[in-house]
């Protein structure tokens, strides 16, 4: 089947078999190898990318499901002049990565999290990243990185008060 989609701002058109997973389309067909495959049960989040701006596990999305959509990967967060995004910078400054395998997925999940909830508490960050596994860092510096990014982002542009999709605001 032919698919047409935007990946990191570039329009792509490719012939793919229906069962091609989006993660493989990105890695093998487009050579965008930052996102990694870490599991086979939609658990670990190493494959996380943005689909129409929302974090998804690209191992559980078919490339054909992304037809007509836009995909952003970690590579796409980097500006043309090589400047990394605020979230990526924060991960660097706070030692939020060691082996780096979970990192692109963690960055994409964090980017999506902050877009939906610009002022998360530490607990909300941890819950927001429960779909992203890390073995190296113990999560401590990852949480620091996301909170630092939140502070930087909200300092730069005051929050428009976007509705949070956070369940903790729903109380019995």
């Amino acid at each position: 089947m032919e698919i047409k989609l935007t990946v990191n701002g570039v329009t792509r058109s490719d012939e793919v078999e229906p069962r091609l997973l989006l993660i493989h389309y990105l890695r093998e067909s487009l050579n965008l190898r930052a996102a990694n495959i870490g599991c086979d049960t939609t658990s670990c989040g190493a494959c996380t990318v943005l689909l129409d701006g929302e974090s998804v596990k690209s191992c559980t999305v078919l490339a054909v499901q992304a037809n007509g959509r836009s995909v952003t990967t970690a590579e796409g967060l980097v500006a043309d002049d090589g400047t990394m995004s605020v979230v990526q910078q924060a991960f660097r400054e706070n030692h939020g990565l060691q082996c780096g395998f979970c990192t692109p997925g963690m960055v994409m999940a964090s980017t999506s999290l902050l877009a939906e909830n610009p002022h998360p508490s530490e607990q909300q960050v941890r819950e927001g990243l429960e779909g992203n596994f890390c073995r190296c860092t113990g999560y401590h510096n990852i949480v620091r990185s996301v909170l630092a990014a939140a502070e930087k982002l909200s300092g730069a542009a005051p929050s428009a008060g976007s509705a949070s999709t956070d369940a903790s605001e729903v109380t019995a």
Partner: protein
Amino acid sequence: MSILGTRVLRTEDPGFLSRGAIYTEDVQDERLVGACYLHFVRSTVAHAKISGIDTSAAREAEGVIAVYTGSDLAAAGLAPAKPPMPNMNQAMLAPLLAIDVVRFVGEPVAVVVTEEMYQGEDAIELVDVDYDPLPAVVDMNDALSGAKGLLFPEAGTNVVCTFGDAAASNPDLFAGCEVVVSEIIQNRRVAAAPMESRSAAASWGEDGRLTAWIPNQGAQGTKGAIMGLLGLEPEKVRIITPDVGGAFGAKFGADAEHAITCWIAGDLARPTRWSETRMENLLVMPHGRAQQHKITIGGMKDGTVLAYRIEILQDSGAYPKFGAFLPSLTILMTPGPYRIPRAESWSTSVVTNTTPVGAYRGAGRPEAAAAIDRAMDLFADAAGVDPAEVRRKNLLPKFTEPHTTAFGAKYDSGDYVTALEKALDAADYPGLLAEQTRRRAAGDTLQLGIGLSSYVEITGPGGEAGGPNENGTVEVHPDGTATVLTGTSPHGQGHQTVWAMLVSEELGIPIEKITVKWGDTDLIPKGGGTGGSRSLQLGGAAVQQASRELLDVARERAAATLEAAPADLEYDVETSTFSVKGDPDVSVPLTSLAESERLFVRSVFTAPGPTFPFGTHVAVVEVDTDTGKVFFRRIITVDDAGTIMNPLLAEGQRHGGIAQGAAQAFLEEVVYDEDGNPLTATFADYPFLSATEVPSFELVDMETPTSYNPLGAKGIGEAGSIGATPAVQNAVIDAVSHLGVTHIDMPTSSQRVWRAIRAASSSAANGTKEA
């Protein structure tokens, strides 16, 4: 202004963050163009004879190039692997692919080679293997007794090897003790589960040489393993280590699948690629721990410990690997940081129809620490003395000259009591006790538990003749850059940054201009890799030493250039320039001394022995006494690994170790049913720690330098995982000890905690006290 000891950001990170690191699966190389893909057919039963393998349908499937079975490999002359150490039962051979018998679920039985990646999973479904099930020996106690049969009839036993001597046990070890407590405890099997699973890529050149890309913990060790498994001469093999997505002890050497990937590339004269799925990884990558301990501890009612015995049973899994050897390290660290007048330990390693066991962060030492610290708490409880006081009373006092234990471990430097006091102080131990008392009095559902662990561990051991050592090469180029070659093999630890810091400190070259290389056996034929927390104290020391020796060489050249005596020159690190003392205008920059002749030095640093970092962890948990659920709330740690080169990275190592250690205590375990079927073979079933289960960690700094290397550094990579496990386990038990609970095996799942509470209350109702 020294760069050492400062929080330098990693030079690895911009690449890792913007395009991703380049792991084996990512490697693109002209030698791998046109690679075919390997997928393995694996045993679905724990123990069975193979009565037939039908590969005909698979051979016909779309895109299938070849199918190989164990018989094919044997016919091609590939011999089974022997156990890695001479004292292991040498009849327990491990074929690369199973031939007549399978011994664990997941054991590779056949391999299918396809043109395209996706075709492989289709094709392996078409391979038909007939199994005649044999009784599965799953519990290590059954393996020891032989009650359920032997895995290797030709071996005549399920025992792989023993360490220590049970026959030499002193029957009067506990004579004179007012209090004696004994318990059988489990140090349960866990999965290493690095985020990057295993993979390999291989290509044979027209020159008849194999080049293989394999994620590992030391290219040189992997080369040796591939040579051994395939019977290849050294000049024929080149191993390249791409970026590695975590290892934790489970990526040493080479596994059957790596070797088969290499061999098939030669047999088909075509490059090959292989990547396992996470399920394969959880089934087949060597597991960690899997020890059973019978611990006995005795002493006086005032809290003084007089005697301790630990009898170790090690589950090696189906084929003896490094796991069978681990108890020797456990025995070495038997008394931990404590002064115990009489102590003994011995071990037996057995095979079972489960995944083979290997090294996992700490490798034998966490087991020792978990045992002695559980024993300390059992003793404290029985003697009615506060656990902190028991530790205070029994810790070895501070020493600056090496102290050799009765088990032959030569601790280089230690100040265990200070570590304990610092941790207790930072945790506000009295405040925690007061809160616990308040909740107990109020009968709160959510009870508080405080757990301690004081540990010491061995890092940087060397099996090499002449003592633990590592090599480092530093070269300065005329353009002002420098290259470092190291025999270490980082997989997240940041050697690229820290080795550059060490060189920069000596030579003044900025770290951005220093390239660090490792993991290519053509470039660096010798090296000990990264494991046992050896890298900084040996590899970093080697790089520092090479830098200093390079300056000596440069000084001679500068002296010749400036027509001065070498002793009359001084080197200014700020400007990287030699000048005549008192005459700064007469100078020559370091880089120009590399112009007419290469300026490099290869140096080997040898340490007098391994070093012994130490610390104390205080863990705080809450336990919901209605459901048994454990909430891991806080952990306060002192991890003293001597002088710290880069605190940012050292903290990261502590964090990661703490998380893994804690996870083993309250969450993670590998589970088999009684037939040897794995129940935790996916990330959905294996309770892998996520961000919501752990708090942020509270680290307290303490540095007691070692004299064993000029850096003053000991190893820090495994310390966190050694201290956290007993601290968290002790905390959980402490939370419900007022209900009569004295022990809960790890991991302290909610069901285990609930059962322990019920058992304690029912025996209290019956008027008996559970041991």
